[in-house]
Structures are given as C-alpha cells and as structure tokens.
Amino acid sequence: MLRTKRIKRICGGLFVIGLLAAAACVTTSASSLSEPTFAYTPPGYALWDSGSSPQLTVNIAVSAASMSAPAQMQVTLVNHGGPLYVSNFLNTSRGIAWTIQSKDGRYLSSKEPLPISPPQPPPEPVSTKAALEVVKKRLTEIAPGKPYTVNVRELPQWIYPGAGTWQLRAVIVLKNYNPFDAAAPKDRVIRTLSDPVLVTVSP
C-alpha cells in the first residue's frame, strides 16, 4: 500500500509538477542563448577499407519547422571517396548532431538539451575478411553516385532555441570499426559538416 502511494506520488504528483517545470523552461531558455552547448553525438557505426577513406558531403533539407510540431529534416550523405558502409541506425545522436547559429553566426543552444540515445545495438564481431564482407552487406552502402538520405524527426525544443530564423547545420560523425584497418584511432573517425540552411521556425 505504501509503495502504491509512493508510485502515485512519483507518477502523478511529479507529472503535474513536470508540466509546471516545462513551462519554467521557457523562461530559462532565454539565458541559455548566450551559453551555447555545441553539438555532440557518439560516432555512428561505419566500415570502410583501410587506406580508402570516404569523402563525404552532407546536405540537409528541412520539411517542417515549428515549435508546435515535431521538427523534420532530411540528411543526405554523398560519398565521393572509397566504399562506405554505415549503420542502419544512423540518426540524431547516432552519428548525427545538429548545430544552430543565429543569422549573424552566434552559436546557440536548443531550447532544451537533446537527450542522447543509449548505445546502438552492437554489431556482430568479425575475425575474418570474409565475415566482414557479410557484415558490409547488412549495412547501408553509400557508394559514389548513390546518396543516402536519413529522415530525422525530433521534438522542436531539442533542435531550435525557439521561434525565429536560424542557421541549421548537421554534423556527421562516423567511426570505422573495420578490424583490419591499421589506422590510428583518431584517423578512424571522420566528421563532416553540412552547409548551413536558413530555417524560419514558426511558433
């Protein structure tokens, strides 16, 4: 009985209070505008062959930008280099991060911090080159001339500071998990930034 009451308090009381807290966030977000938190994402799982580093170009398009509906963006990866295979889980916080700048270039924070996903499911370990080829086939190949588009849907407060006109850019971070890649750890990670897109976010 005591436990029941406790859970009621947690889930009922705190939820109501949570609504009030959410409202409070509106007032605190103004101060955060001068204290940007830069985009962060754990690296997305990727495979490429040793010595054939992919050359990525990233383009973004925004299909919905409102503070009263989920933000929807398309991130298109174009590879101009060697063969690249990426996780099917590529998404915000799984290899994709977002930056917001004002029209005059100041880095801004989203209205609320974006929660990062827990780790993506780990891939199967491979110990032979034949097994690696099998894993590659299960991933998404981004070949030259075959762009790959990820549809992103996030709550607007995790992307935008609020209503207004902002510069939005995507950051792609991929890590090569090819066990036969002799490159140093720092050279196993590639980061690519998209050009900014001017987005007008409605209230």
Partner: protein, 250 residues
C-alpha cells in the same frame, strides 16, 4: 461462464493502480502467464493469429489490457499511447513501471517477448549490480516500450525512458541480447540520476559515465565480450572531439 473464468484468472496476478492505471506485478505475471504465449513470431508486423492461453493455458490479462496512457507521451511528440499494457517490478523496495505500447508492439510477437525478456534480465541482474547502477535504477520511474519514438531516449522530467523497439534488432536483423537491452535501461537511468544530482546529464561526459556503468556491470548483466568491447570502444573514442567542439566548433 466464460466471464467468471476470466475473472478468476485475472485475479491470479498481483497488480497495483497508479494514477488510475493498472500495472501487473512482473514476477507473478511471469509465473502465471509468462509461458502462455504460443509463439514469438511476428516481429514488428501484426500477427493476429497469436492468442493467449493456447492449448488450454491461463488467460493472460495483458492480452486484454488496453489502457489509454496518452499522458505519458511527450508534449508535441504525436506519440499514440492510447492502447497500452502495464507491468511493474519492485527493485530495492521501489516500484519501477513498464508500459508496452500495444499499438506498435503486438501481443506475443518476438518484440513483445524481447521486451519481457529484457525486463526479466534487469530484474534478475539487479541484486548483482554495483551501487552506482542500482542508484541509477532508483532514479527511473517508467520505461515505455514503443516503436514510435524514432530513437530511444530518456526524459528527465518525468523520469522515464522511451525504448524504441526497432533497436531490439541489430543491423543484420538479429535480436540484441537481453543483457544489452537491460544495460541500455541502466545507461539511460544514469542520465536521469545525473540530472537529479545536478551534474552534466547530456553530452560526452555523461555518455562516457553511462557507458562505463554498463561496462562495470557487464558480468552482472551477462554481457558478452564483444558487447563490452563495443561499449569500451565508444568510451575510447578520441575525446579530442569535445575539445574541438568547445574551442573551434568547426
């Protein structure tokens, strides 16, 4: 007559009512009905052929459970949580609620069974976890299994974890281990704990702390070596990224 039988069966599993919604006690539910689902087929697709209690077994109350828990959906998210089932486990004297979105997770499907198995593993592992992991779980109120979130994430207020069940699958289409799923719950519970402690709860440092928690409790969860290695590889990721972002963003 059928109704009388059903009521008798439903009364077998303990349950509590929280904010007007019923949650069945996981252990007794597993004992009474855990093995009553005919098969684990269906994946993320509907499988209307699955019925509870096939072969004369007891009738699973979760088959009939259909409660509107829309209040759990984040504002503006558009999540549809109008058809859900609820379970709870008592961990360290405290109830943690589990909600299964029945609109996207079909009763008896392999995703349904994976969700149940992950809860089971978390419950089984709890006493073996270190103090930090148990403290993290103590910061978690609700886990919501659904296909809708688009990706898994924790919400610090209310203290809930949305587990996107599409992430029950690896890139090769196989199911993740119960241990990894359970450790993911602890990972995100730790973000909530960091928030409660007024520490950085998002960003690189928070991720490293939460990955480390998974690695430190790998034996308790029963993580396989390659899973632990994968988590360790995320921890070992060159942290120069942080410095780059802070000093010269791009």
């Amino acid at each position: 007559m059928c109704r009388i039988v059903l009521q008798l069966e439903l009364s077998m599993t303990d349950s509590i009512i929280v904010t007007g919604h019923r949650y069945y006690e996981f252990r007794s539910w597993m004992s009474d009905y855990g093995g009553s689902v005919a098969s684990g087929e269906g994946g993320l697709e509907p499988n209307p052929t699955l019925e509870p209690g096939e072969g004369g077994g007891p009738v699973d109350p979760l088959f009939f459970d259909s409660e509107d828990r829309s209040f759990l959906a984040p504002t503006l998210s558009g999540f549809d949580l109008t058809n859900t089932a609820g379970l709870y486990v008592n961990l360290n004297g405290r109830n943690v609620l589990f909600v299964i979105d029945k609109k996207t997770i079909f009763y008896g499907s392999e995703v349904w069974q994976k969700a149940v198995s992950i809860i089971d593993r978390l419950t089984f592992s709890f006493d073996l976890l270190n103090a930090a992991a148990r403290a993290a779980i103590n910061a978690l109120d609700i886990v919501i299994f659904s296909l809708q979130p688009n990706r898994s994430f924790a919400d610090v207020f209310p203290r809930r974890f949305f587990y996107d069940v599409s992430e029950f699958y690896r890139s090769d289409g196989s199911l993740i281990s119960d241990a990894f799923g359970a450790s993911n719950i602890v990972h995100d519970a730790n973000h909530i704990l960091l928030y409660d402690q007024n520490l950085n709860y998002v960003g690189h440092s928070a991720e490293v702390a939460s990955w480390q928690l998974q690695v430190d409790n790998s034996l308790a969860f029963g993580l396989q070596i390659y899973e632990t290695s994968y988590l360790q590889s995320l921890i070992d990721n060159p942290s120069s990224q942080d410095e780059r972002l802070q000093n010269a963003p791009y």
